[in-house]
């Protein structure tokens, strides 16, 4: 009998269940990037002048920057002039009610399992639907409005709440932060905006579902979440894209701001198209996510389950400014076939008694590569800071790679940091034990991997944990022979 993991079978392309294309007429900007294109986007979005200026300044900055090269991923150079920076389904006006939404778009989301409805399946979850470059619907707005919660697309927020947007946009991730953040600042078209007023606990999960549909386009959304003093919100984002031979660029920016005693829980289930077994196609996911715990006792918690994308480059981070603030990062990254993921976090301890916790689980199968890259930095001011980091990698098959690159920088003697990392393969003994109890090899792998990721999965909101668990199993299908 062959060793359980001896043969790593090839994944067959058709397994990605969200790979279909919606046939809808779109309004697409000409390919390429120039001041004119940015002005065009700005005009389409009816930007106020300050925003147009901000975009142009970011564009100038971007032109002087170079793509980062330190990450452990290889890809063909991206031709930024071959991308169209704006694509929107042709709808005359944003529908006034959910009933007016284009049936094609409605069907798309139904097929994806997240119908645009305020009922049943996603009861208790308000969703902002972003289709290519624009937000097409947001549910439960009325109900949230009654509590003073603002949940809308960022385009609407720019029109309706300019003072809030202007105050916070770019305050956590400035345009010059990195190459992709600068690009995003110049061309972002939509995304979600959340404001939770003082003392309000948002009674439902807020969620954005991103869908890339058009080909030859990129997606550059921008999300801004502000939790005012003493408030709480749990936010979830999901994403898929059609199966295409070309690589599509997704360069998003997410900024979170937590004021005194506020808490933001941000969860991601990332399932962009990963490309086929030969590595053809798939999304290039270059994302900057950062949260600022500005207030005392504030907390920002990132949870991510990364199974998709040909390339993942993201480091959801926390700047722990407020005294006693808490940052958390829980991550599962699964790579199979030729996927490459370079992901991790940064925890910057500035305030006193700030605490951070990092739990990262990487699973590599096929001929993929997965890297955890993280920084824990304790500044001189961070009296009593604490960090705990646990990074575990699991390899399935002998053609993949798993890497761990942590940076630990400590400048305060009262700080305490602990870092642990392990790498191992899926254990033959565990596999045999499961199989002896009648569980098939593939199910056993899924079971063991899910167990390995349990600490992270437990952090996901209930509604999505089940989905995430299935996704994990699907991404590893055929990873053992």
């Amino acid at each position: 009998m062959a060793t359980a993991l001896e043969t790593v079978r090839e994944y067959t392309g058709g397994e990605y269940k969200y790979g279909f294309v919606t046939d809808i007429e779109a309004d697409i900007a000409p390919k390429g990037l120039s001041e004119d294109v940015i002005r065009l986007i700005s005009a389409k979005k009816q930007d106020p002048d300050w925003l147009t200026e901000m975009r142009l300044a970011a564009y100038k900055r971007w032109q002087t920057m170079t793509e980062p090269t330190w990450q452990k991923v290889d890809y063909e150079p991206i031709d930024y002039q071959a991308i169209s920076y704006y694509a929107a389904p042709k709808i005359k006006e944003r529908p006034k009610s959910l009933d007016e939404i284009d049936p094609e778009i409605r069907r798309t989301y139904e097929k994806l399992g997240i119908p645009i409805k305020e009922q049943e399946i996603l009861a208790g979850v308000a969703v902002d639907y972003v289709f290519d470059s624009v937000s097409v619907a947001t549910t439960f707005r009325k109900k949230l409005h009654e509590l003073g919660i603002i949940f809308c697309s960022i385009s609407e927020a720019i029109q309706d709440h300019p003072e809030l947007v202007r105050k916070y946009l770019g305050s956590v991730v400035p345009a010059g932060d990195n190459f992709f953040a600068a690009l995003n600042a110049a061309v972002f078209t939509d995304g979600s905006f959340v404001y939770i007023p003082k003392g309000v606990r948002c009674p439902m999960e807020l969620s954005t579902y991103f869908r890339i549909n058009e080909k030859g386009t990129g997606q550059f959304e921008r999300t801004l979440i502000i939790a005012d003093e003493g408030s709480y919100v749990s936010y979830l984002e999901g994403c898929t894209a059609p199966q295409r031979d070309e690589n599509q660029l997704h360069a998003a920016v997410v900024e979170l701001i937590a004021l005194d005693d506020a808490e933001i829980k941000y969860s991601t289930v990332q399932n962009w198209y990963p490309g086929d077994s030969e590595g053809k196609g798939g999304i290039y996911n270059f994302v900057t996510k950062r949260g600022a715990c500005r207030g005392k006792n504030s907390k920002i918690s990132w949870t991510q389950v990364e199974t998709g994308s040909a390339i993942t480059w993201k480091y959801p981070s926390c700047i722990l400014q407020g005294d006693n603030s808490v940052g958390e990062f829980y991550s599962v990254a699964v790579t199979n076939n030729r996927q490459q993921a370079d992901t991790g976090t940064k925890m910057i301890h500035i305030g006193k008694n700030t605490r951070s916790r990092i739990v990262a689980k990487g699973i590599s199968a096929g001929t993929s590569d997965s890297t955890y890259r993280g920084l824990v930095k304790v500044l001189k001011s961070a009296e009593g800071a604490r960090n705990y980091t646990q990074c575990d990698s699991m390899l399935i098959g002998d053609k993949c790679g798993a890497h761990t690159v942590p940076y630990i920088e400590v400048r305060n003697r009262s700080a305490k940091c602990e870092h642990e990392a392990t790498t191992s393969k899926i254990s033959d003994d565990q596999l045999f034990y499961c199989r002896q109890r009648g569980i098939s090899e593939e199910d056993a792998v899924a079971l063991i991997v899910n167990g390995f990721c349990r600490e992270v999965m437990d952090e996901l909101p209930m509604e999505f944990a089940v989905e995430a668990r299935k996704l994990l199993a699907i991404s590893l299908e055929h990873s053992v022979g």
Binding site: L5, W70, K380, S393, L395, I396, G397, D398, C400, G401, A402, H403, T404, V405, P406, Y407, I408, E409, V410, R411, N412, R413, S414, A415, K416, C417, E418, H419, E420, A421, T422, T423, S424, K425
Partner: protein, 446 residues
Amino acid sequence: MSALRNRTAEPVPGFAEALERLRGEAAGSSGRALEQRNAAFERFQALGVPTPRVENWKYTNAASFANRPFALAPRGTVDPDLVIPHFAGGHKARRLILVNGRTVPQFSHLGGLPAGMTVRPLAQVLAETPELVDRTSVNDEPEHSFEALNRALVEDGAWISLEDGVALDEPLQVISILTEAESAFMAHPRHVIRLGRNAKLRLILTTVALGQAESLLNQVETVEIADGADLTIDRTLEQGQGRSAITRSRFVLGSRSRLQQTTASIGGSLIRHEMEARLRGTHSEAILNGLMMPQGTEHVDTLIRMHHEMPDCQSDQFYKTVADDRGRAVFAGKIFVHKDAQRTNSYQKNDSLLLSDDAEIDAKPELEIYADDVKCSHGATCGDLDPASLFYLRSRGMDEALARSMLTFAFTGEVLERIADESVDHIVRRMILSRLPGGERLAELG
């Protein structure tokens, strides 16, 4: 290349002047050797002196320590009475002494070596058999600035060679002395160490700076440990303000061979020790232990690249760090498990004590793994002394300073205990105690 160049600094003219001087002397240099020097120097200039923008030098600004007007080391001598306290390995130990990077045969004691073992000045070996120049370097085009510089400016070093099956029962100590001097100087010694099959050697590498001077020691070591051979190294580095030492050790291990090294990096403006170990045979084992203890404005930096190239090997990295005052300690250890290195067991641990608010610790414990049937782990911790233990000692009547010193000393114990040679162990304990407040009162613990 150009991408690298804008992350490095232009070397100061002093280096070119030094090369010029060596060319002038040309003594013992064959045409081939000169060619090598020139090529290496060109390489050095092309690479430049690394700044923190080079990833491997992120926490250590080599340019600020090393890119300064150093002249080639004066041909110093030294009062033997000052050297004797550094003798280790017992009265039967053999000794090779270098002063400012050049061997001093009259101080050395190398009598009665077993047949098949040679310990000689590298300069002599190269003068007699220039073709060995090529044997002293492992790769032809060093990607490493200081290695290139060493190759360009090397004058001497230790040549230690054991043929198959040869074992030296007593330790061999190589003492490298840096003297006092009026003006800043540099030395670029190279040690070539080769253990044939099943050979066995206990090596003590002692580097000491005597008195005041500004100096740069840029040492390169190439160490070959053939199948079944066993090498133990106890290494100490002790120098004062104004002294910088950059050491690069390259180990290549054959099947069923073993390397165990324990290093105590105690002082100096800069100590940078880079180690690259390549496990090239199956069932070999490499153990690298170390203690770093910067104080004042000292800066100690350890970089390890552990390459598992073959199956069934083991490795262990165990480093402890104690940073006080404005001292800074850097540990960057990396485990590389190459594609076919199945059944690798590899561990790495770095525990740090931060004793002052102005001290700093940077750790980068990395794993890069391409084989699935492996067990690899690393751990890093950082913090102050445990308050509960501190309280315990104080409740037993010890004053805080003494209690702190005692716990700090205890913290270093786990590494010290791995030092193979007892006399080195004593010397290191003494050095540590001399750096701890109230250390003399703890002497009986040493």
